[in-house]
Subunit: 612 residues, 2 copies
């Protein structure tokens, strides 16, 4: 099996031939950043081959890397399939300054505005004629006599001062000294931005002096053991205080694992990490903070809090500086969490002047509309189908998943992730498949498969044996058992199509309600942003074909990657942005779709497969 060595992290993975570098890194416990789930479309997973043979660049590499880069050994990790031993350099992007994605007018570099200030001072020595106490001597020199101080820092201040010739650096957060360090450490100031997903937790280490990302890491959310979806976790937490504590411990453990990884990658000291931000859905926020989420589940879906929660790292057991400031960005409602706040911030939706909608499809679907100076949001129970749940052969976007289905020149062509034999179908494949079968005339606009017995003329000969009677209606065989990686045919069932209709109908109807509320029409939208991994890999054409997205010129529809995570980083890099995020619960109008009689009408209409 080929062996891959990753530098400078000095990690090694032995993997099967044919595995790509992205997965090999994952195997080695490393996270290589990317927005397109390995599809070669984002160009972010740049790594450099330092030892091992070169091979011809792929089309994706030629698109994203310059000839000079290619010459120097740069490749895209998602494009490189391993067949021999190799050594890879994973760049720590020291110069990866955060950019504000002002989507209306391009990008703009973010100014570093840390909450924590650091000041190095040299104090006069005490004498019998100047018996000023150590703390007051320090505060006097800082010219901030009003500051408070952490007791744990005061406890050993006397020795610290005398051991360091009275030269120390104070780290100050607001009106409080949170750390006193020997000598001049003003150049060491770091923070971690988390994106706490129901499935995956990601963390980025930022140099707060420069607002640049210097390392990233990810891990699965170990709360998975208590159920894949938020409702299972709420149920578990609501059963006892111990269960709630257990779920909190799990996520904090995972966050600490990420922190450890980030610190090891960069050799940054734990105590020099002073700030942490996090985003996640409202349930993740409650569980991270150890707050009872019970009443998020039943109507009226009331959170315990919506404001941003700011606590000390030691209160949560996060292994950064114990007095580090941890901020979970605010919730807007029970099912519109700080992940949506992150999207709003990353896309500048609270400041832009045009009309813009954002759609974030994860386990749930959240929608935001910025129009006429108003900001509105709602959530729809739309996600699971797009993540493969409730779909007969559904699966997550992993190796072997059917991720694309094309109907061209009378043929249906499939693509799978990593070109492996198919073992199921993921969200993008599902949308593609429905669009392809619609184009082929095998699915009617109502969502029903054509009845080959009633209307045999509608079924081309080559599909006659693939459209067959299944449970609850007809089904279409995408891959036969012979060609698949599982023991049976892989099909798209009538039930699958119904699930997709429910999901896409809900999202579309949610968007329509927002537009109606804002008193604008579809054509008034200047931009529709697709956030999250889903947004990166869904094909706009298919989404338009099945009517998941409104009929807009494709250039108005933009995939913006993990905007929630970007929002967390931006809020970490700038206290001004953090404050803006903190105010969003007051600014964003939340529409509870279940209370609107007009929602059901639009929803039922929107379930049909038609370009609306």
């Amino acid at each position: 099996m080929p062996k891959v060595k990753f530098t400078p992290q000095n990690k090694v993975a032995e993997v099967e031939s044919g595995t790509n570098l992205l997965k090999a890194a994952d195997r080695a416990g490393l996270y290589i950043e990317g927005d397109c789930a390995g599809r070669g479309t984002c160009g972010k997973c740049r790594v450099k081959i330092t030892e091992g043979d070169r091979v011809e660049p792929t089309t994706a590499e030629k698109k994203h890397l310059s000839p000079g880069d290619l010459e120097a050994g740069w490749v895209l990790a998602c494009q490189r399939v391993l067949d021999r031993d190799i050594t890879i350099e994973v760049p720590i992007q020291k110069d990866a300054h955060l950019r504000k994605t002002t989507l209306a007018g391009g990008v703009e570099e973010l100014t570093a505005e840390p909450l924590v200030e650091k000041t190095a001072v040299k104090l006069s020595r005490p004498a019998v004629k100047d018996q000023t106490a150590d703390l007051e001597r320090l505060l006097g020199r800082l010219e901030r006599p009003e500051l408070n101080i952490e007791l744990r820092e005061l406890a050993h201040l006397p020795t610290l001062l005398r051991d360091n010739a009275y030269a120390v650096t104070a780290a100050i957060a607001g009106d409080r000294i949170i750390s006193i360090e020997p000598g001049d450490t003003t150049d060491q100031m770091y923070g971690v931005a988390f994106d706490i997903g129901t499935t995956t937790i990601m963390g980025s280490l930022l140099d707060l002096k420069t607002a640049s990302v210097i390392a990233v890491a990810a891990t699965t959310n170990p709360q998975n053991a208590y159920g894949a979806d938020v409702i299972s976790r709420i149920t578990h937490a609501s059963e006892s205080r111990e269960n709630l504590k257990q779920l909190q411990e799990k996520v904090i453990e995972a966050a600490n694992k990420i922190i450890k990884d980030l610190l090891r990658q960069t050799k940054v000291a734990r105590d020099r990490v002073y700030e942490v931000t996090a985003v996640g859905n409202t349930t993740m926020s409650h569980l991270f903070m150890g707050v009872d989420p019970t009443f998020l589940a039943p109507a009226p879906f009331v959170p315990a809090y919506s404001r941003p929660l700011e606590v000390e790292a030691s209160e949560l057991g996060l292994k950064v500086n114990p007095a580090g400031r941890v901020t979970f960005l605010p919730n807007i409602a029970g099912y519109v969490g700080s992940d949506t706040v992150g999207v709003i911030i990353a896309a500048d939706m609270d400041q832009r002047k045009d009309n813009c909608a954002a759609i974030d499809i994860g386990t749930n679907g959240e929608l935001v509309l910025a129009a006429n100076g108003r900001l509105m949001a709602c959530s729809t129970a739309a996600g699971p189908a797009f993540e493969g749940a409730q779909i007969k052969h559904g699966m997550r976007a992993a190796a072997g998943a059917i991720e694309s289905v094309d109907y061209k020149e009378g043929e249906i062509k499939l693509g799978t992730i990593d070109n492996l034999p198919a073992c199921g179908i993921c969200g993008s494949g599902l949308i593609d498949a429905a669009a392809a079968l619609l184009d082929a005339g095998l699915i009617e606009p109502s969502g029903r498969f054509v009845n080959p017995e009633e209307n045999p003329e509608k079924v081309p000969d080559r599909f006659k044996n693939r459209l067959r009677r299944g449970e609850g209606g007809y089904e279409f065989v995408l891959v036969t058992a012979e060609d698949s990686d599982i023991d049976s045919d892989i099909v798209l069932s009538q039930g699958d199509v119904r699930e997709l209709q429910l999901a896409k109908g809900a999202i579309y109807a949610g968007l329509m309600i927002l537009l109606k509320e804002a008193e604008i029409e579809i054509d008034d939208l200047d931009q529709v942003l697709l956030a999250g991994a889903f947004g990166n890999y869904v094909r706009k054409e298919s989404a338009l074909t099945i009517g998941l997205l409104p009929q807009l010129p494709p250039e108005k529809i933009v995939a913006v990657g993990n905007a929630a995570g970007d929002g967390s980083r931006m809020a970490l890099a700038s206290k001004t942005i953090r404050e803006r995020a903190g105010n969003l619960p007051h600014r964003v109008e939340h529409l509870e779709l279940s209370t609107r009689p007009d929602f059901q009408d639009i929803f039922i209409e929107a379930m049909a497969f038609q370009k609306i």
Copy 2:
């Protein structure tokens, strides 16, 4: 052995016949308040005999109790010697409102001004049309949207609200909700005021609604195991971080023992205690807070901090409401601690307009002078002799200690505590003895015993066999081995007299330096306050005879009891007073006597026994 039952605490002690009630209470783990160490002069240790025979009231009881009180069974605990079974009611002084001892002009009742506010509210229920989060619903109802909240209170807010029909009480400290309680608990608001002595720790439970003391308790400071004096403890703490932690744990343990006792006496719930204040010398303050006291010991005697330290109870492990606010009043200098701040506050020295000096003699001697709008303080290493240290037969003021020595009509008469056979001499006895022997002409003004061989005419016949040669000079036999409770004579040695001279010289000289600095004369003093137990039992006449106190009309010299502890209670009862105390480090000018060349001159002169 007679048995005493204490109600309502329901404690029982079996003690030897002849033990007084004060000691019996101590044996039962109860503390009965008093300022005069059981001398019958303060009249504070009132208890009521509810079962058991009455006896004739003593002179002290007749002085402090009305005929009606006596009729009803009230006695002074220090006056009652046990000889049979008895049941006692120890009054919980529900109506013992704190009084501001404006010594210049009488007493004035203190207004309750707690830091913590409590508000009971009833919230509207959430509905699908009003999905406001629980916290924001509460803050909205309180009309305090800016408040923060303890995470531990937020964690279970959702269930608390729903289990109590949305009727709760919020306890607010500053900008923070520290407790949310079911129903209306606005009438339950308590605090504990500590006086952390090097030897004894005392605590009072206050009802913060009424500024009244409802229970008191005391225990010895378990740090005693690491040395009786502050220097031994500083040395121990400076040896390792573990030692420092150990000393902190000891004092916190003792404080928790007191809290437990106070809560048991009154049936107050731990979580309803929201505020704690403490006073103590600077070393005690450092050790209570776990702050390294190392550099208090060597010159220039620099504390780690002087400001008041305010922390959460949970940071220290104090067993009151975990978010309770704990304030240790500020230090003025390395050897002028918050106990002195307490004295200043209790005696209103920062506000009164006359010229007033306060002398607090404990293990150290601290002096404060308020004159011409200035406040000045200094400390002198004077205390140990008055607590029996460095004195040949010295002992603390305990049973059997010679506490009074009278020279009258050519006779020397001794009094011992509890009238037991003498086993040593305590501070007041030492001063009395020196004064008596001066009066008898046996000690010369220089402090030397007269030489019976050179000047036999100066020694009356009846003392000839009692003035004898001892180590380093002559010594006077106070009690012979035959009459004493120990195996030897009890003597006052030349060395003892020298120790006394050093101590009284230092205090007197300290006072003179303060007067000099303030540019006033002794006669300009309107009042001299004697704080601490010592002040209550020293006899003014003797102190004036040996020149420990300046020559002033006796009515200008006032014993004020445990003023440091009173200051702690007053600061607890009123946030305004606490704030005043907090500002004292800026107001009080600290004079470091060791830097003053004039101190030595005055000190040497002041060592002589003369009325100066």
